[in-house]
Amino acid sequence: MNHARRWSDQLSEELGSGASAELLSVDNVSLSFGGVKAIADISFDILKGEVRAIIGPNGAGKTSMLNVINGFYHPQEGIITFRGKQRRRMKPYQAAASGIARTFQNVALFKGMSTLDNIMSGRSLKMHCGFLWQVVHIGPARSEEIRHRRRVEEIIDFLEIAHIRKQPVGKLPYGLQKRVELGRAMAMEPELLLLDEPMAGMNLEEKEDMSRFIIDLNSEFGTTIALIEHDMGVVMDLADRVVVLDYGRKIADGTPAEVQANQDVIDAYLGVAH
């Protein structure tokens, strides 16, 4: 938590000096399925280097928002600007190539592969060795594999999962699966990391571990993070800024303290008598 505070101090300094840049901005995005509006005219931005939380009650459109950001859903209206490039429609793999990685609400690991292979799969975009070299698996193909293995081993060390390196992920306990999934996203070395409920279903100790990884990832590697989380304690401690959604609309945006004091947010969470 200290890390987070320190980081936000640093951030405000940067803000003061005007050095902070907008990494991603979402402008007037609307998304609907058939007649159902999942997201209605939402705008917000994510600054380089910050931890940005997206919160809201169930069904508020948080996951849909992430799906829009990384190209899985195509919004009917609105523009998304990432690293200065504007787009509305983009394929998920193009989003990945432009530097967006994510984890999933329900763990979406490659179940038939080992921890090591799962994290290696995060390096896919950085490996280019051609088919013919792959066939013989000597020279460039081999050295490329080993180079990336070294990087992956660093991530394995960072996440403290060396002991399950060669185990198939399908049989790991849930908390470890979430950690492997984080490792897989880290291996992409993304500019922007989207975490969809990274701590759902975890016990306190596991949550603390995960929080520590997120803070370190943000402060040591400088990765910008956008996370969805229901545990308000975690959100308030980790996030630099929070955007609140309800029924597909944005109802608040600001620092954790501002959001906590916002009457609309309180109404959305506690319900309000009409």
Partner: protein, 361 residues
């Protein structure tokens, strides 16, 4: 006691990523290769080589092809037989037009044609998943079968509608056609199969193989990690069909010597699928185990009643084989979906810890 990697420390990632990191496995494989390349040609009878080993190897190669697509890339195909046929007919046409080019090269090249057919029929896989895709491969199966009958050009307008393999030589030794001895044909096949199995192992453990497995396990996550689904799926179709095509060409040129459309019908597609299921999806070793099992089982069923004095009709053994294979498929899917290959692995685990069954790692 014997099978244990204790004391074999890896000091580099290269050593850890080797195909066979454990010494005992390397010794075992070397022994198998020694037997396959030297022992069998020297000692085995022509019947054993011609009726057991050669079909076994051909089907192993086809099973590798299907396993790449189904076991590694997760795209169920029921059109293996037809893709084998494309390779066989392509090879036949090639050697008709270019009789002077070495037949082994032509066999290896004929796979390119079935790879192209694979890509063509794999195109729908971008929009269609799972069971639906299995049905589009049925379209490939029946459409190509029809082509093998209707396009007389494919079999050089023979009245019989069959292709007859001409004699082709390498260094004055006949390697195809009626005059080629089983041993020679066997040596050609085992060389091709060994080489191609090695290539498959290399591709599967690298970037490309991983991209297939990513698509198989969780296609959405794979796409969000930068894998292009179309490219990954089509490359799997191409690579897989190449193997099936070469297997088909080998089957006709090196094993049965002539072929008509029945050699590539849907029953063969199923046969190879059974090999993959029983051998183990997602395992190269499983391809060999499955092919051996399915090919050898009928031979045993034929032989055993004779040994104990029963006289079964040929048809009866065929029906019994069907029942047993069917039961085994269900059994394996229920008990061990990863087939014989996983059983083998479990056996090795047991060996590692023997005689202390509860010791882990």
């Amino acid at each position: 006691m014997l099978y244990r990697e204790a004391g074999q420390f890896k000091t580099s990632y290269a050593a850890d990523q080797a195909l066979l990191p454990i010494l005992q496995d390397r010794i075992g494989l070397s022994l198998i290769l020694l037997v396959a390349f030297v022992g069998i040609p020297l000692l085995a009878t022509d019947f054993f080589i011609g009726s057991v080993m050669i079909p076994f190897l051909v089907f192993s190669l086809a099973a590798i092809g299907l396993n790449i697509l189904t076991g590694y890339a997760g795209q169920l195909s029921l059109g293996t037989g037809a893709f084998m046929g494309v390779g066989a007919y392509a090879c036949y046409k090639l050697t008709t037009y270019f009789p002077d080019i070495n037949i082994i090269l032509l066999i290896l090249f004929s796979g390119v044609f079935s790879a192209a057919a694979g890509v063509l029929f794999g195109l729908p896989s971008l929009r269609i998943k799972g069971l639906y895709l299995a049905i589009t491969t049925l379209a490939a199966q029946f459409f190509l079968e029809w082509c093998f009958i209707r396009i007389a050009w494919l079999y050089n307008y023979n009245d019989s509608g069959a292709i007859e393999v001409p004699t082709r030589k390498l260094l004055d030794i006949a390697i195809t056609g009626a005059s080629a001895t089983p041993v020679v044909r066997y040596l050609v096949i085992i060389s091709v199969v060994t080489l191609m199995a090695l290539v498959a192992a290399n591709v599967l453990r690298g970037r490309i193989g991983r991209s297939w497995m990513m698509i198989r396990d969780m296609d959405i996550a794979a796409e969000l990690m930068g894998i292009r689904p179309l490219r990954a799926k089509l490359s799997a179709f191409a690579f897989s069909s190449y193997y099936c095509g070469v297997a088909g060409a080998l089957m006709v040129f090196m094993w049965i010597g002539s072929a008509e459309v029945e050699s590539f019908d849907i029953n063969h597609s199923f046969l190879v699928l059974f090999m993959v299921i029983i051998g183990g999806m997602g395992s190269l070793l499983g391809c060999f185990l499955g092919a051996a099992f399915i090919w050898v089982l009928p031979i045993i069923i034929r032989a055993v009643p004779q040994l104990i004095g029963l006289d079964l009709l040929a048809a009866t053994t065929e029906h019994l084989t069907n029942i047993i294979i069917g039961v085994l498929i269900i059994f394996f899917l229920i008990v061990e979906p990863h087939g014989l290959a996983r059983l083998w692995q479990l056996g090795k685990e047991k060996l590692r810890t023997w005689p202390f069954p509860y010791a882990s790692n």
